[in-house]
């Protein structure tokens, strides 16, 4: 529990992912502060879903997420189209494997 004057120190940040009732995948919708996962889930229900039925919510402590660094973007996501040796196109496709 948070001691008086400690502010939000005892309330870590959580990231919230919601899958709508007819949605196919969980989408990141935002973040919130909560003392633990249970309350993070309940707060997310109030803040992001208005308690609609049939939605699925994931909460993840922000500290558990490892993000790719913007500085390394070039190295991470450089299009590899120009690296022809990465593409397995140097052999003939056998007959009868039309949909390879």
């Amino acid at each position: 529990m948070t001691a008086p004057g400690e502010g939000r120190a005892g309330w870590p940040l959580w990231e919230v992912f919601v899958r709508a009732r007819r949605g196919l995948s969980h989408t990141h919708v935002g973040s919130l502060h909560a003392p633990d996962a249970e309350l993070a889930l309940r707060n997310a229900r109030d803040l992001y879903t208005r308690r609609q039925e049939g939605v699925s919510i994931w909460v993840v402590p922000a500290g558990a997420i490892t993000a790719s660094s913007p500085d390394e973007k070039d190295a991470f996501f450089e299009p590899s189209a120009d690296k022809v040796y990465r593409h397995p196109t140097f052999y003939p496709v056998p007959d009868g494997a039309a949909h390879l």
Binding site: M1, A3, R8, L32, R42, N43
Partner: protein, 248 residues
């Protein structure tokens, strides 16, 4: 005066009791807005207040129609005095600290959940529909109050002390909720076992002793309230009474 199909035992007074519980609880919870310990809790308390207000509107509208003298939800909310209010004493008590508010919400929702569950199967279809809607909301309120009771009771020494004091101070007010009324659509006397089944495990997990039963104040259902209700109504009704008949 009775609507078709409605059994005779749904009385105006009974509906006012249900509706006033929800209305006064909503008013008290509304006092927390922008004053809660955390932003997320602020939103949660406002959410619960809105749920209770929504149930109050449906119940008071139905009470007004059943009464048949032209009083709508606004007339019933804003133009009755404390002697005409039928809410239980528990909901009109001041908010106190956060522990007090959570104990009040725990007791109220632990009572409303079995009540609305039973009412959602009653013969009065309109009341059953209102109760069916409110039941889902109240299950959430109970969950929320239970989580906080455990966190505070099993938290720091100071939070334990406060939560325990709140539970002990409010426990006598729960007696009034279960005073027998065999003429009601659901006799409150039959709800106490379910209430205890909702409350006792929470108190145990929260390391809080379950207070002993003893004398408890009553009178709310008869319009005999604590000194707190008339002040609450003065604030709630001031604008309506200053401009009677205005539309907004």
């Amino acid at each position: 005066m009775n609507t078709t199909g409605a059994p005779v035992h749904t009385t105006v007074d009974y509906l006012l009791g249900l509706g006033d519980d929800a209305l006064v609880a909503a008013q008290r919870l509304g006092e927390w807005v922008t004053a809660a310990p955390e932003l997320e809790e602020d939103v949660a308390l406002a959410n619960i207040a809105l749920d209770q207000l929504g149930a109050a509107r449906l119940l008071l509208s139905y009470a007004g129609e059943l009464e048949g003298v032209g009083r709508d939800e606004d007339a019933l909310a804003f133009l009755r005095t404390d002697r005409e209010y039928r809410n239980c004493l528990l909901v009109e008590l001041p908010n106190g600290d956060f522990a007090m508010t959570m104990a009040k919400l725990l007791f109220l929702s632990a009572y409303q959940l079995p009540l609305y569950t039973a009412l959602s199967g009653c013969a009065d279809e309109r009341l059953a529909a209102i109760a069916g809607k409110a039941r889902k909301e109240v299950a959430y309120h109970l969950d929320h109050a239970g989580l906080w009771t455990v966190r505070l009771g099993d938290g720091t020494e100071e939070s334990h002390r406060r939560m325990r004091a709140a539970v002990e101070e409010l426990w006598p007010y729960t007696g009034e909720l279960f005073v027998a009324d065999p003429a009601a659509p659901v006799d409150p006397a039959g709800l106490r076992a379910a209430f205890l089944a909702n409350v006792e495990p929470v108190l145990e997990t929260a390391t809080l002793p379950r207070p002993a039963d003893g004398w408890g104040p009553t009178g709310g259902r008869a319009g005999l309230h604590t000194e707190h209700l008339s002040y609450l109504l003065a604030e709630m009704q001031v604008l309506h009474r200053a401009h009677p008949g205005a539309r907004w």
